[in-house]
Subunit: 351 residues, 4 copies
């Protein structure tokens, strides 16, 4: 309840700061008997890892995960699985010039006001680096959901700044550093990012996540709805400013005769609902969209104040993602996996 | 935790079905010593009440609230406040023709599959009627937040189907049945709704909610963020398919040099963040947008199946809101109040 | 989570004050499809009801339960079951003389200091009357556990003040007002109570509760252990000052070679563990003992202070139980049922 | 909710197995700004450490704690504090002979039945070694409670098997390996333990814990009472079979005129309540007693079964505590600190 745990029956407790000793999480509630290795988790961490292309932060973090507990002879024992990722590349000097100032649009300001103390090294706990434990925990959930229920969770980038990325094929998503489901648009994306980097600016993006083969009946009627929990985890992802399900904001101009998905004995005829009706999964694909803001750490000078309230000019040097949306896809997949895992366990409880 | 409770330190447990004996909630965690009467709560319930104009459902429910506990000599005692609303207008015959069929876009289908049993009377627990206890609890939170911290929470409709409603003045919101902040647009809205009613169709809407004078520092860095909790409650409101904060989905095409709100000794120069940075309130106004889908209960015939999986044609008669967005404003305000109340108490815990 | 709810997957939220409008609870998480009537619940409430013999409080409360929600056509729907008990016999004048003073050994003092306001009518929320909703919720859990798993939960009084009550037969428990499992000792108990009532004093008691046919494997290794949860609910019962499981405090002088229950292919040879090993149920009977203090509301004059801190003499008139232990048996059974119900659902979640 | 976390606002999530890579915990909810070093925590861990006298297990574990997060420049930042203790002395061969059999009185049996898989190395997660993270977390709570509210929490052994240990002085507790508050009795305790070790048997014990300067008003009226939470943590401590507060089981034979603590303007005249009235702290010393069973790991041969259900004879070799009660005092102190810490934060929330 103190704010760093997620989930009721599959609970993930996150800890760590960007440039502290280590980051990690404790997964509590993983069913016993599943084969689980560090490689299973490392695969997803590597998809999110920094430094894999020139379009993301050049910080070199191997993000190597170590399982500390909860596994015996290669299988989960039903007890907490603690995961540890050592911080290695700690060039904290890059941040020294901003430790007393607040970057416009950054959590510096709110952390300082909330806690009265702030770890400025690499953004401390507000760093997007803290999504790595989420991805690690999500890998465990993904594996279990896949093996037990055949659930498949995948995501892609559908828009980078002004460039819309038409969906072509899931097969393309792994072939480029943008998680774009379309080969044709890659040169345009690369040119856009190269220009942006020269400007020293950053840009927003839109991510889609889809879950297939989701059991019917996940979610509770009021408050603990599945859509509510999805919105919770997605809006809680760094830099997200909007979350929608199914038709999303387009539903505003839809009439009921268009929006309501007709049903036949062979299934639904459309999916404006995004797989959720009345807060409960319908068995259709769950489709989620995220709006991700441009990062606040940019080279362009901006007006701000320091911790004394005096006016200052802030310019963020160091190694930052010019588009945090680029690495967001595996994180969004992990978050959706964590929500579904929790709800599947809850559903099992009442059977 | 079994799904019908909201909040950690200010907990609301919701119960009831649309046409059962009664609906209500238990509020646990209201600080002692606040003056509280049924009139304080009734005021907000009346704003949400059905039957107040020809544009909403004609069901006649007085929605009279009764306080069962937690008050002594007019003041809160710090113990649970149970609120009861008797169901009075139970014309359940209107629903008889749909008890074995699933309305396209309605929770009928998922409830049936989840529970194997379903109260079909007026939608049972999936009815929007179950937002009344939320509004009642929100009234308590609103009052406390106003008295203790001067927080003001208000909302309005910014779009009804294709008609955008430019913000003109808060003063207009109470003068029309749409919660529209603009007098000029009312005739257009009324004409649109009258035509829609004749068609037997329904329409979506967009609602904005704003909280002013919010204390800085509400929300936790990871998972229990303020933005996450807002998204949770808002997406959990019946018919909502999208939630955004501040710039929302517009942030996708914004550059960091535009999105990041610059700060001066006199305050922020813009509010793209919507009052939340890194998941924590910044002291700026919190601004939230909701996309509300068209209701699925329409007179137009639609394809569907029945509980045996056979194809049927469904047409929903009875008394329904052609635009559930019209009555959503007070509910969205209540939900924001509940989230803020909970986070303010949490903040007090660590002081 | 603000303190008046119990259980994670079978959650009971309690509300009300002794002489307020009503008391009750919301049960959230009852599986769908169980036949449930008010009579099922009333049966247990009647076992706890005041006024059934001259040895308990003469307050006349019928404690009639009303189901407000969660049932459709006689079956649970899987949604919250709200239970309401109206308060009828409200002779609040009896308490007027103590509203500004603190009874030695009573919660008056702590409520006043905690909340700064106190409902003095009948003890307000500190009244043992508030165990009625717990008994009602326990009746639902008992029924489900019995039907689904064959679990049987029974209790009895094993000591009243200085009089030990040897266990003779479960059949006797319902034949006397003490829940004593022994017919021979009844005259002695009655004589003791009659003398005590004349003195205007009160006395302690010891209660045993036993659960049979409990599934193996309930409880988690660390923190959320089954023994911990049993201790939690039992110590939280009004007037309880001690809780033990199996050998209890006798284990202090036992050697390991005596205490550890040997196992054969036909089962355990003893049950010093009380059915729980390492916090997890072993399938043996769960055996729990409670020490219940004498009530603080006695006619004998006692030294105390008033709300101004001045010395006063306190004498409690009105209708009180001279031995609250007498009515504690059905409450303790209900509490054990609630704990087991919650853990059985949790166990099902991970299967 | 998955069972390995304790506390609502000061949450401790425990992980690890006796002979795995490491054990530890994540503390979530420690207020920001407190000076905290590893030495503060190590001090309490050393009090619980094995191998410090011939009367406890000879396993050599330095139990060195490492802080992984949540501290910046020597102060808590308000974010999760992850604590890690590497396992070093892993002589797992000692346990090979029991991996397929169940020790009478041990959690072997229930873990196997619950999870279908069991880490047999040193008892895996059922080992008393897993109390080390609890002690570490308790050290943080103790420090904060002391600095902020002057709360002092201390414990001692009051009985070892048949030998009662009269309280003489707190000063003696640290002078002997038994945490006995009495120098005179030490030779008798040592002789008893030496004889017991030769027999290869084990013995129970009784521990007292006392908290002084506890703020008035901690605990909620129903369910989340302070006494309930104390019982929860104490009964959840390995080997505990009974918990009592204040007069405890002696209250059974007390009359109300004796038990109820009279109050004067200068304070209470006795403390049969053990500092808690109606579930809420009264400001008096909180006094708790624990009954600790003899460990099940003894050299004496015992009847049991193996995982195939066949009869076997079990004899536990290896390094075990002949009286787990001896090292229980610092753990019980830590648990009381954790409960009080949580309730103090909750109290602050409502101020």
């Amino acid at each position: 309840m103190s704010g760093s745990s997620l989930g009721k029956l599959f609970t993930v407790s996150n800890f760590g700061e960007s440039h502290g000793t280590a980051i990690g999480c404790v997964i509590d509630g993983c069913p016993a008997g599943m084969v689980l290795t560090e490689a299973d988790i490392q695969f997803e961490l590597d998809r999110r890892k920094p430094g894999t292309s020139r379009h993301v932060t050049q910080r070199r973090e191997p993000d190597t995960v170590q399982i500390l507990s909860g596994i015996y002879e290669g299988k989960t024992t039903g007890t907490p699985i603690a995961l540890l990722i050592q911080n290695e590349d700690q060039r904290s000097k890059d941040y020294s010039n901003i430790s007393d100032s607040f970057r416009p649009g950054h959590a510096d300001f709110t952390y300082w006001n909330k806690f009265g103390i702030r770890d400025p090294r690499g953004g401390g706990r507000s760093s997007a680096r803290l999504t790595a434990p989420t991805v690690a925990a999500g890998a465990v959930a993904k594996k279990w959901l896949k093996e037990r229920y055949g659930v498949q969770i995948r995501g892609y980038m559908s828009q980078l700044g002004p460039i819309e990325i038409p969906f072509e094929s899931w097969d393309e998503v792994g072939n480029n550093p943008f998680f774009a489901p379309n080969a044709t648009v890659i040169p345009e994306l690369e040119a856009y990012m190269d220009a942006l980097r020269k400007e020293g600016d950053s840009i927003g993006a839109r991510i889609e996540v889809v879950a297939e083969n989701v059991p019917i009946g996940l979610g509770e009627p009021i408050y603990d709805r599945l859509d509510a929990d999805i919105a919770y985890v997605m809006m809680g992802l760094n830099a997200v400013k909007g979350v929608s399900i199914g038709a999303g904001f387009n539903c505003i101009t839809q009439k009921g005769s268009e929006h309501g998905d007709e049903i036949t004995p062979d299934g639904f005829l459309s999916n404006h609902a995004g797989g959720i009706l009345g807060g409960i999964s319908s068995g259709q694909d769950i489709t989620v969209s995220l709006a991700i803001k441009p990062t606040s750490s940019i080279r362009i000078e901006r007006q701000s104040i320091n911790t004394k309230g005096e006016p200052v000019t802030v310019q963020t040097l160091g190694r930052h993602d010019p588009c945090v949306g680029i690495r967001a896809t595996p994180i969004a997949e992990a978050l959706l996996a964590l929500v579904l895992m929790d709800h599947v366990l809850i559903q099992q409880a009442y059977k």
